[in-house]
C-alpha cells in the first residue's frame, strides 16, 4: 500500500509541480521581480514623481529559476503524499477515486493549503512588513490543520452537529487571528502586492486542480495494476 501511495504521489507531484512551476514562471515571477526592484531600492514610489508601471525586469536566470522548478516539484510531491494518503483511506472505505473526482479533492487541498491561510495571511510579496516568521508558520500550520479537519467533516461526517463543528474549525483560525506586524514599512506599491497575492492564489487553484486530477488518475492506474 505504501509503495502504491508513494508511486502515485511521485508521478502526480512531478506532473503537477512542473506545470505549477511553468504557471508561476509566467504569472507570478514577473510580479515578484517587479516587487524586488522596490525591495532593493532600485525603484521608489510615494513622495516623488510617478513611476512607470512597466520597468525592465531581469530575464531568465538558469540557477535561480532552475532551483524554483526543483522546489516547486518537491513541494507538490509533498502535497501529493498528503492528498493520496487521504484518497487511500477513502478508497479503502469504498469511495471511488478517479481523475475527474480527483479534481474536487485537489480543489479541497487548494482551499486548505492556499486559500484558507491566505484569508488572514495573504501571500507576501518580497519586501512587505510581516510579523515574526516562526509565529506566522505556527499559525499557518494551525490554519491548514483546522481547515483540513473542517473540510473532512463536511465531506465524510454525518449530521448537523458535524457540520457545526466543521464551521467552527473553518472559522477558528481567523477568529484567533494571524500574526501581523506592529508597523508598516513595506516599500512595494499596493498595486503590485495585490496582484501578487491574487496571482499566487490563482496559480495555486489551477495547480491544485491539476494535482488532484493527476493524483486520481495515477492512484486509479496503480490500483488497477496492483
Amino acid at each position: 500500500m505504501f509503495q502504491k501511495i508513494l508511486t502515485s504521489a511521485l508521478f502526480a507531484g512531478f506532473c503537477a509541480g512542473l506545470l505549477a512551476a511553468a504557471l508561476q514562471f509566467v504569472f507570478v515571477q514577473p510580479v515578484l521581480l517587479h516587487a524586488e526592484l522596490y525591495e532593493g531600492g532600485d525603484l521608489v514610489h510615494f513622495g516623488g514623481e510617478a513611476i512607470s508601471a512597466h520597468p525592465e525586469l531581469p530575464g531568465f536566470d538558469a540557477m535561480r529559476d532552475g532551483l524554483s522548478i526543483l522546489f516547486t516539484v518537491l513541494i507538490y510531491v509533498g502535497y501529493a503524499l498528503l492528498l493520496i494518503g487521504a484518497m487511500a483511506l477513502a478508497d479503502e472505505r469504498g469511495i471511488a477515486i478517479n481523475a475527474r473526482n480527483g479534481i474536487i479533492w485537489g480543489l479541497a487541498g487548494f482551499v486548505a493549503f492556499h486559500f484558507a491561510p491566505a484569508i488572514s495571511l495573504p501571500p507576501e510579496v518580497p519586501g512587505v512588513a510581516a510579523a515574526d516568521v516562526a509565529a506566522r508558520q505556527v499559525w499557518w500550520w494551525g490554519a491548514v490543520a483546522a481547515t483540513v479537519l473542517g473540510l473532512g467533516l463536511i465531506a465524510f461526517g454525518n449530521g448537523m452537529v458535524m457540520w457545526g463543528v466543521a464551521a467552527v474549525l473553518l472559522l477558528a483560525p481567523h477568529i484567533i487571528g494571524a500574526p501581523h506586524p506592529d508597523e508598516f514599512s513595506g516599500p512595494v506599491p499596493p498595486e503590485i502586492a495585490a496582484l501578487f497575492a491574487s496571482r499566487a492564489l490563482g496559480v495555486g487553484l489551477f495547480a491544485w486542480g491539476l494535482l488532484g486530477l493527476f493524483a486520481g488518475y495515477f492512484w486509479r492506474r496503480e490500483s488497477a495494476t496492483a
Binding site: F2, Q24, L81, G85
Partner: protein, 54 residues
C-alpha cells in the same frame, strides 16, 4: 472521521500515516525551514506558494 479510521486495516493506516509524515517532512524542509541556503534556494517558490517567508 472516526468511522473512516475504524473501518480501514492496520496496514493501510500505517501506510497512510507514513505517507503523511513523509509529505509533511518534505513540505516543512522545502517550504518552511529557515536555514539560509534552503531559504535562498526556495525563496521565489515560498513566496509564490503563499508560505510565510523571511
Amino acid at each position: 472521521m472516526t468511522a473512516l479510521v475504524q473501518t480501514v486495516s492496520k496496514s493501510t493506516l500505517l501506510s497512510v500515516v507514513s505517507a503523511i509524515v513523509l509529505g509533511f517532512g518534505i513540505i516543512t524542509v522545502a517550504g518552511h525551514v529557515q536555514a539560509a541556503t534552503l531559504h535562498d534556494a526556495a525563496h521565489d517558490v515560498r513566496h509564490a506558494t503563499g508560505f510565510p517567508c523571511h
